[in-house]
């Protein structure tokens, strides 16, 4: 089966509940996001106003202007707004990930680098605005620089979120993005632009409203200014909202039209009230705040309608495909759990287990280099039962492996474990003892011929000292062994000299007389350093 499917574990929450929770949590989150955005924009706006005001006023009225410092008053609230916006945001994130796993995660992975940048933007905006809001009086230019950084970081965040949502709501374009990357699509870009600006405009309205009603008591100048910002924001929203309406990617449903009408009517009421009060008495919170909250909810319902339409056509298929795939996998689930059970029973704390799990598939249970996977390898695995070596030499081979062969490194096992493997090899095949005596005595003539043969042929790679560190051996992979620390049982050494070692530089010498070959075996075993010598 090759179809996109939902995550296979069943959803822990009924769909209606999760959707309801998602809407409520998102509305709550967005309310604080908007106030956070508004507070950030207003704080920076008031800073500029105070600074320019000071410059314009010159030396005549500095006291008045420095008393203003409205930006400090505004930005002090940033800590609250951003803290609540962020923690409240975890809920919708959680809920959308469980309700619409595939569209959400797909959009996120498509946007991954930008999505991860949000973390940095959040930290930057948060710490910079907190620094400016909490009595950090810095030079104007420093304030300007920090403010610009903070504002850019802050305003980038909703832009990225909107982009992720636009992407999630357009599943028909995912494949093209995966294939060719993001392409410039005028319809999507225009839609994104208006949607993003609509968030910023709403931020301005809600931020200004918050400060108008909650932080400017007894300060008519500031109230008047905030009301102007709010009115400006509302008027901008009407224009941006119209743009957004015409850039919609789907036909609105009748319900969406109804919510839209409610929202527009409330917006008209608030605009009327604000315009009426700009020059006069303060507005009543009891009328305006409920209007604004219902306005927000009705606009969010419009948004929700589009999102549901976008996901609605996708989710049933995803769930059906998940069910089919789940059934298919159910045939294998016993096997899977059984293999898990076996795997966690195995404790890699002794040489025997480690050999059985990590070595035997090549080297074989009997150490004959004939494990079940040995036949895949051109260079046959070592016949460990025939190896006679030292702890240090084997340790080195186990930790570093043998380049040019399939022998991996086992440095991920701690020293005691590797020592345990060597002990196991020794207990089973006596790999740390000296090689057995030759089956027959070698004549003096054969020994002499063997010595000559070694010097003329073998020493080129193996070296006269048997260490295998000659200029010719440098390029060899696998490298020749070090005969001062490693030997093979006589019969196997004899066989290797006759037939060579497949897929290595070690050629066979079948034409050598048998006596000379035994002589070579004897000569090699004499190169072993006696135990304890350096």
């Amino acid at each position: 089966m090759n179809a996109l499917h939902d995550i296979l574990l069943p959803s822990p929450v009924p769909e209606t509940l999760v959707r309801g929770l998602l809407f409520a949590a998102f509305a709550l989150h967005l309310l604080f996001v908007l106030m956070m955005l508004g507070t950030g924009i207003l704080g920076f706006g008031y800073f500029l106003q105070a600074w320019w005001g000071q410059e314009l006023a010159g030396a005549e009225r500095p006291a008045l202007v420095s008393e203003l410092r409205w930006d400090k008053h505004v930005l002090r609230m940033f800590l609250i707004h951003k803290s609540l916006a962020v923690v409240l945001g975890v809920g919708p994130l959680l809920l959308i990930q469980v309700a619409f796993s595939i569209p959400f995660f797909t959009a996120v992975t498509l946007f991954a680098p930008a999505w991860l940048l949000i973390i940095l933007f959040l930290i930057t905006a948060s710490l910079s605005f907190d620094a400016l809001g909490h009595k950090m009086y810095v030079h104007h230019y420093a304030h300007l620089a920090i403010g610009v950084v903070a504002l850019v970081a802050l305003l980038a965040i909703p832009g990225l979120f909107v982009a992720v949502l636009v992407s999630a709501e357009n599943p028909d374009r995912w494949a093209a993005v995966v294939r060719e990357g993001f392409a410039f699509d005028p319809r999507l870009v225009v839609h994104w632009t208006f949607r993003y600006l609509h968030v910023l405009g709403a931020g301005l309205v809600f931020g200004a409203a918050f400060h108008y009603f909650f932080t400017s008591r007894g300060d008519p100048d500031r109230k008047r200014s905030l009301l102007k910002w709010m009115l400006g924001g509302l008027l901008a929203q009407v224009v941006i909202g119209a743009g957004l309406f015409f850039s919609l990617l789907r036909e609105p449903t009748p319900a969406a039209y109804a919510y839209l009408l409610v929202g527009a009517a409330l917006a008209a009421v608030v605009i009327g009230l604000a315009a009426f009060h700009v020059g006069g008495a303060p507005m009543s919170a009891r009328i305006v705040l409920p209007c604004l909250v219902v306005l927000l909810v009705s606009m969010l319902l419009v948004r929700q309608g589009f999102q549901d339409a976008a996901f609605g056509s996708l989710m049933p298929d995803l769930k059906r495909n998940a069910e089919a795939y789940r059934l298919k996998l159910a045939q294998h689930s016993d096997e899977a759990v059984q293999s898990y059970k076996e795997h966690i029973r195995i404790v890699y704390d002794n040489g025997q287990t480690i050999y059985a799990r990590s070595c035997a598939f090549c080297h074989g249970d009997g150490g004959q280099g004939d494990g079940p996977d040995a036949h895949y390898l051109q260079t046959p695995p070592e016949r460990l039962a025939d190896v006679r070596s030292t702890k240090a030499y084997l340790y080195d081979k186990l930790v570093h492996g043998v380049a040019g062969s399939a022998m991996p490194y086992f440095s991920y096992f701690s020293p005691p474990k590797i020592a345990g493997v060597i002990e196991h090899l020794d207990a089973t095949w006596h790999v740390l003892s000296v090689p057995s005596p030759l089956p027959a005595r070698v004549s003096h003539a054969d020994m002499a011929a063997a010595a000559k043969e070694y010097d003329s042929t073998c020493a080129r790679c193996h070296g006269t000292d048997g260490r295998g560190t000659t200029p010719a051996s440098k390029a060899l992979a696998p490298a020749p062994p070090d005969f001062t620390a490693y030997s093979l049982q006589p019969q196997w050494a004899f066989d290797v000299i006759r037939s060579g070692y497949a897929s290595t530089a070690m050629a066979g010498f079948p034409s050598l007389p048998e006596g000379v070959r035994w002589g070579l075996v004897q000569a090699l075993s004499e190169k072993r350093r006696p135990a304890g010598s350096p």
């Binding site: 090759n2 179809a3 995550i7 574990l9 069943p10 800590l79 609250i80 962020v86 409240l88 945001g89 975890v90 809920g91 990930q97 469980v98 595939i102 995660f105 797909t106 991954a112 999505w115 991860l116 973390i119 930290i123 907190d130 995912w174 494949a175 993005v177 995966v178 294939r179 298919k328 996998l329 159910a330 294998h332 096997e335 899977a336 759990v337 293999s339 898990y340 795997h343 966690i344 195995i346 404790v347 890699y348 704390d349 799990r357 598939f361 090549c362 996977d373 895949y376 390898l377 051109q378 492996g401 040019g404 062969s405 399939a406 991996p408 440095s411 991920y412 701690s414 020293p415 474990k417």
Partner: protein, 453 residues
């Protein structure tokens, strides 16, 4: 396979999540639980003894603490969601299905915690005199909520080390109240209080001018540090006892990491030195040796941060091949899918792969098999470079090793796919090791250019 592939370039996915998570726990444990508890302790003592000095100290410390918690702690906490959803969506998506309710309750606790913290901070001046008691209750409520969020998250974080229960029963409580739940929680709380005490001691020693008060408070927090550090050692050992032996054997690797690991004496010495440093700091503080305490306080805090990072690292590492025990491998392939792919192949089941590459070349197939099987931990050319892992090994050897990862390396998942796919991956990796490919954008699939060099 259910999501388009993205890997964080160079660092790899695991390390990015780990960095975010460690920064977060330093703040969530050390500051949000630790420092705030110490501040509350000072406020409480000041209130009970009518000692203005404790009150003033607590009040001065709370502002930077709140800014760090909300600005860095909350952001990195959300950051863990961001990184996991972008880097291992199938993993976090599945975890979420299992642990939705604890995470949802955690969210409610988290929101309450922040609201209480903000009120605690902003109402400090207003709630004085007869209203002070209310402020004290608020502080206590904060400490309880902060600890509660640790309780909730520990149930989820300990789940991966489950040796029995959930994989068979598939019941929520089996997953949440896993064997390592209690010791891990105890350790986390001990670490939080120790780190909080160390931070507060540093603040006292560097910023507090009142000599008499400084000595008194130093003694108080040194006692907290000493007791908490002792509890850390005990609960840490307890936790390690509870971890299933099969997982525990990965620990040596996790502790020592790659090349440094063969040198064990160095490792234990370092631990003893760091533990000794923390103990010594507590002792010096109890004796009110100001100058020495001033020298030691920050190194002691750093040592505790190292222990915290190490604990998280070991915990994440020794879960080894499983993201969800008995259900999902670390590379997000399901254990049952692994069995299926053996017969039917991974490529035929890979939706996005088939969407993306209509006429795949062997390179595409190899690159995809690498991305899905190995890409969670291994990069090409970055950290844990796959080329270094196979340096000098022939193609047939790579083929055999890929087929035996689960047995040969106890903390690695198995390769999922048919033998043909394994051969394709081996060929791709062998050519990669020989630098036969021009590497394309490393973060996206496929990570190689279409043409060979």
């Amino acid at each position: 396979m259910d999501f388009p592939y993205f890997q964080f370039p160079w660092l790899g996915d695991g390390l990015v999540i780990a960095i975010t998570a460690v920064v977060h726990v330093i703040i969530s444990h050390g500051v949000a639980i630790g420092v705030m508890t110490m501040i509350f302790l000072a406020e409480y003592i000041g209130w009970r003894r009518r000692d203005e000095r404790y009150e003033a100290f607590a009040k001065a410390a709370v502002k930077p603490t709140v800014i760090i918690i909300t600005g860095l702690g909350a952001m990195t906490g959300v950051g863990i969601w961001f990184t996991t959803s972008a880097l291992v969506p199938a993993g976090i998506g599945s975890m979420l299905r299992l642990f939705f309710w604890p995470w949802f309750v955690e969210w409610a606790v988290f929101v309450s915690e922040v609201v209480v913290l903000l009120v605690y901070y902003f109402a400090w001046d207003a709630w004085q005199g007869p209203r002070k008691k209310r402020h004290i209750y608020l502080g206590a409520a904060y400490v309880v909520l902060a600890c509660l969020s640790a309780v909730l998250i520990t149930g989820i974080l300990g789940f991966m080390l489950t040796s029995d229960g959930w994989p068979w029963g598939r019941e929520f409580w089996q997953a949440f109240l896993n064997p390592s739940f209690v010791p891990q929680l105890a350790w986390r709380l001990a670490e939080s209080f120790a780190l909080g005490a160390a931070f507060i001691m540093a603040a006292l020693l560097f910023f507090q001018r009142d000599v008499v008060f400084r000595g008194e408070a130093l003694r108080l927090y040194s006692a907290v540090l000493g007791v908490s550090a002792a509890l850390m050692a005990l609960t840490g050992a307890w936790w390690f006892q509870v971890v299933p032996s099969s997982f525990k054997t990965h620990a040596a690797f996790a502790f020592q990491m790659m090349t440094g690991m063969q040198d064990r004496p160095w490792f234990w010495t370092a631990h003893l030195v760091l533990m000794g440093l923390v103990g010594l700091t507590a002792a010096v503080g109890l004796l009110r040796w100001r100058l020495l305490a001033k020298v030691l306080a920050i190194p002691a805090a750093v040592s505790l941060i190292i222990f915290l990072a190490e604990f998280e690292w070991v915990r994440e590492f020794i879960r080894g091949p499983y993201l969800m025990p008995g259900y999902m491998y670390a590379n997000t392939v399901l254990l049952s899918e692994h069995e299926l792919f053996k017969h039917e192949g991974m490529l035929t089941h890979a939706y996005w792969y088939n969407q993306t590459v209509p006429k795949p070349t062997p390179e595409d197939q190899g690159a995809f098999l690498f991305a899905q099987n190995c890409g969670t931990c291994h990069t090409i050319g970055g950290r844990n470079d796959i080329r270094a892992r196979f340096r000098g090994r022939p193609e047939d050897g790579i083929f055999v090793m890929i087929g035996r990862t689960e047995e040969m390396v106890p903390f690695m998942p198995a390769f999922s796919g048919t033998d043909d796919e394994r051969a394709q991956l081996a060929r791709f990796l062998s050519k990669l090791e020989q630098n036969a490919y021009k590497l394309g954008a490393p973060a996206r699939y496929p990570p190689v250019g279409a043409e060979e060099r």
